[in-house]
Symmetry: C2
Subunit: 321 residues, 2 copies
C-alpha cells in the first residue's frame, strides 16, 4: 500500500446490496463483485464478508502494495467523520464509524462520503461532468439524492451533510413524506416512490381512461407509468409532465443558488428520457430569472449504472492523493 500506487478500491453501499470494484487511475474497473448488505445485521459481519470477497480481488490485482486506498459511498455517509449516521435504509442503526473499522481491517486509508457525492465525483472524473468546476448531480431513484460541486470541490457543508436537495420544500403544505414527515419536499414528488404516489392520486382524482387502470393498485410503479406513457397513455403522460414540473421548479431554485454549468441526472427515473426531461427543462427555464435562462445544460449520466457508483467511490481516493 502506498499513496502513489496505481489502484484503488471503490465500494458503494446500498440498502439491499453492496457493490465493490478494483479501479485504476483511468477509471477502468478491473474486477468487481457484490455482497448483500441487508443480511448482515451487525457491521462487523458485513466488514468481514467484504474483506473475504475483496481479498481475492486484491490478490488477483497484484497484492496490497498496488493499492492507494479505499473510497466508499453510503447513504448518510459523512466525509468529515467517516461515520454513517442514522441511515434509515441500512441494517445498522445509530452512528457507525465505518471508515475506522474498515481501515483497521484492511490496513489502508479509507475515505467515506454519501452516495450522491460519490456519484458526483465519479461524473467529474470520468463522466458527463468531466472538466466542469460547477455542476450538480441529482440521483432520481427510490429517493432523490444530490451532490453539489462548486469551484471544483464537493460542497460538504460545515457538518458534512450538505447536498440534501431531495428534502428541499417545493410545495409548502404539500404531499407528506413518509420518511421525514415533512410536507412538499422534492423527494416526495420526483423519486420513483413519488411517481407511484402521483399515479395513484391522478387515477383517483380523474375519470380519464388509462392503461394504468388495468393494473392492481399495489403493482403500479414508475416502470408501469413509463410503459403506459410510451404507448401514448394520456394520464401516464400527465404524470410525467407533473413530475417534470416539480423537478424543474427545484432545479431552477438550485440554479439560482449555485449557478452550475450543468445538472447531471442519474438513476432509474432518467430511463424515461424525454418524457421526464422535456417538462423538467421547460419548467426549470420558466422559473429562472433572465440572467440564468438558456445557459444550464441538463444531462443524463452516461456511466454504466453498476460502474458509476464504484467509480465515484474509488475517485475519492485519487482526490486525496
Amino acid at each position: 500500500m502506498s499513496a502513489n500506487a496505481p489502484l484503488a478500491i471503490g465500494i458503494d453501499i446500498g440498502g439491499t446490496g453492496t457493490k465493490f470494484g478494483i479501479v485504476d487511475r483511468n477509471g477502468n474497473v478491473l474486477f468487481s463483485g457484490e455482497i448483500s448488505t441487508k443480511q448482515h445485521k451487525d457491521i462487523e459481519s458485513f466488514i468481514n464478508d467484504l474483506y473475504t470477497n475483496l481479498s481475492v480481488l486484491i490478490d488477483k490485482a497484484g497484492g496490497i502494495g498496488r493499492f492507494s486506498g479505499i473510497g466508499m459511498g453510503a447513504p448518510n455517509g459523512n466525509y468529515y467523520t467517516g461515520t454513517i449516521e442514522y441511515a434509515a435504509n441500512l441494517p445498522w442503526q445509530g452512528i457507525i464509524p465505518i471508515a475506522k473499522l474498515m481501515q483497521d481491517k484492511f490496513n489502508m486509508p479509507v475515505t467515506l462520503t454519501n452516495d450522491a457525492n460519490a456519484a458526483a465525483i465519479g461524473e467529474m472524473m470520468y463522466g458527463a461532468a468531466k472538466g466542469m468546476r460547477d455542476f450538480i448531480m441529482i440521483t432520481l431513484g427510490t429517493g432523490v439524492g444530490s451532490g453539489i460541486v462548486a469551484n471544483g470541490q464537493v460542497i460538504y457543508g460545515h457538518d458534512g451533510f450538505a447536498g440534501e436537495l431531495g428534502h428541499m420544500i417545493i410545495i409548502p403544505d404539500g404531499r407528506l413524506h413518509a420518511g421525514t414527515l415533512k410536507r412538499g419536499s422534492l423527494e416526495s414528488y420526483a423519486s420513483a416512490t413519488g411517481v407511484t404516489l402521483t399515479a395513484i392520486e391522478f387515477l383517483e382524482n380523474s375519470k380519464e381512461e388509462s392503461l394504468l387502470r388495468n393494473i392492481d393498485k399495489e403493482s403500479i410503479d414508475s416502470k408501469a407509468v413509463y410503459d403506459a406513457a410510451i404507448k401514448g397513455d394520456k394520464l401516464a403522460l400527465e404524470i410525467f409532465e407533473f413530475t417534470g414540473k416539480m423537478l424543474g421548479l427545484a432545479l431552477a431554485n438550485a440554479v439560482m443558488f449555485s449557478s452550475p454549468e450543468a445538472i447531471i441526472l442519474f438513476g432509474g427515473l432518467t430511463k424515461a428520457g424525454d418524457l421526464i426531461l422535456k417538462p423538467t427543462k421547460k419548467h426549470m427555464e420558466d422559473n429562472l430569472i433572465q440572467v440564468f435562462q438558456n445557459k444550464v445544460k441538463i444531462l443524463i449520466s452516461h456511466l454504466k449504472e453498476s460502474d458509476a457508483a464504484i467509480l465515484g467511490a474509488s475517485a475519492l481516493v485519487w482526490e486525496k492523493n
Copy 2:
C-alpha cells in the same frame, strides 16, 4: 501601488449613492466618503467624480504607493468578467466594463463582485462569520440578496452569478414580482417591498383593527409595520410572523443545500429584531429534516451598516493578495 501595500480602497455602489473608504488590513476604515450614483447618467462622469473624491483621500493616506488595489461591490457585479450586467437599479444600462474603466483611471488592480458577495467576504474577514468556512449571508433590504460561502470560498458559479437566493421560488404561483415577473420568489415576500405588499394585502383581507389603518396606504412601509408591531398591534405582528414564515422556509431549503454553520442576516428588515427573527427561526427548524435541526445559527450582522459594504469590498483586495 504594490501588491503587499497596507491599504485598499473599498467601494460599494448602490442605486442611490456610492460609498467608499480607505481600509487597512485590520479592517479599520481610515477615511470614507459618498457620492451620488443616480445623478451620473453616464459611467465616465461617475468614475471621474469618484476619482476626484478618492484622490484627496489617497493623498491623505500617504499616496498611491501605500495601496494594494480597489475592491468594488455592485448590484449584478460579475466577479469573473469585471462587468456590471443589466442592473435594473443603476443608471447605466447593458453591460458596463467597470473594473477595466476603473483600472485605467486609477492605475490600480480592481476586483468587482456583487454587493451581497462583498458583504459576505466582509463578514468572513471582520464580522459575524469570522473564522467560518461555511455560511450564507442574506441582505434583507429593498430586495433580498445573498452571498454563499462554502469551503471558505465565495460560490460564484460557472458564470459569476451564483447566490440569487432572493429569486428562489418558495410559493409556486404565489405573489407576482414586479421586477422579474416571476411568481412566489423569496424577494417578493421577505424584502422591505414584500413586507409593504403583505401589509396592504392583510389590511384588505382582514377586518382586524390596526394602527396601520390610520396611515395612508401609500405611506405604509416596513418601518410603519415595525412601529405598529412594537406597540403590540396584532395585524402588524401577523405581518412579521408571515414574513418570517416565508424567510424561514427559504432558509431551510438553503441549509439543506449547503449546510452552513450560520446564516448572517443584514439590512433594514433586521432592525425588527426578534419580531422577524423568532418566526424565521421557528419556521426554518420546522422545515428542516432531523440531521440539520438545532445546528444552524441565525445571526444578525454586527458591522456598522455604513462600514460593512466598504469593508467587504476592500476585503476582495486582500483575498487576492
